[in-house]
Symmetry: C2
Subunit: 183 residues, 2 copies
């Protein structure tokens, strides 16, 4: 599970509430690890149970108390251990390809429409990527060390490259379908 370790990663920057964490995820790693609000709270409970974080309850009037989570030494150790561990391969599931595999039963027009819709989604994603740096900069209180920015940029670059590759594939596929005889 990457979520628990991503949370440790953020708490290693600064103590945060579940609410803060949700915002942190949404403005930084969402593109490769979206986090559900309910799941964040459940995972925080689990992290506390394991002793990797502690809770500090900050009373508030008129709204729920803030539960500020702090990473512990054990948590920091676990974070480092995990960072150095080779990664589980990612889930290869690509719903579009399942359709493409069985697309022989479609007309050329239908198949092209399928790929065009996919390509449109990819183009939209590329535009989103272009907006990420501002969003993140806006949120990141103090932009962290150049080293951290370097690694953060790597993740963005990955997204751009992979999305471009998928887009090129889709565009070439569309061109090739036109040369296909419909059975």
């Amino acid at each position: 599970m990457s979520l628990e370790h991503a949370i440790l990663g953020f708490l290693n920057y600064a103590p945060m509430t579940g609410y803060d964490l949700k915002k942190a995820f949404d403005t930084s790693v969402r593109h490769f690890w979206p986090a559900d609000q309910a799941q964040i709270y459940r995972t925080l409970k689990d992290l506390a149970r394991r002793g990797w974080v502690t809770v500090e309850v900050v009373p508030q009037e008129d709204r729920p108390n803030r539960k500020v989570y702090h990473i512990t030494d054990a948590g920091r150790e676990e974070l480092r251990r995990w960072l150095r561990t080779p990664t589980d391969p990612e889930d290869p599931r690509v719903p579009l390809l399942v359709k493409v595999f069985f697309a022989g039963g479609l007309t050329n027009e239908e198949a092209v429409a399928l790929l065009e819709a996919y390509a449109a989604g990819l183009r939209a994603r590329l535009e989103e990527y272009a907006r990420v740096p501002q969003q993140a900069a806006h949120y990141a209180e103090a932009i962290r060390s150049p080293r951290e920015v370097f690694f953060w940029t790597l993740t963005l670059d990955y997204g751009v490259r992979l999305t471009r590759a998928a887009l090129e594939w889709a565009e070439e596929a569309i061109r090739n379908i036109h040369n296909q005889e419909e059975s």
Copy 2:
């Protein structure tokens, strides 16, 4: 859920048992939609409940009866409907990137090792892709129409392109890490 529709896709080629389906998945679409044996059986039950497939029980001695599933007209309609429906975007989760995002706390050597291990996995995957055509040809009783082969080839091409893009990213990242000052 793509699994149920992939099953419909296979049953549209020919009636099959759950056991047959598992083999079909493993020799064709596994790379973009792996299927768990237990999940196949549960899904078949569900498809039957919805009237998209019917079951024909073929008695056998000495081993469990074969339950041969046949696609129905309703199932064929559902398959076509699904094929023409624009696709849900794929799950963007990439565990490696979560680590890279927080990799500022690693030494350059540790970060490089992480990416090298990842790159090794990608190279292995590329070699696997090279072996897919033979495997699939071996299994596909009658290689289906050229049109079907065309679409099947598209899915393989997607895998190769995306894996190559990821590999190039990793290799360039490794080169760049060496120019990074360790904080």
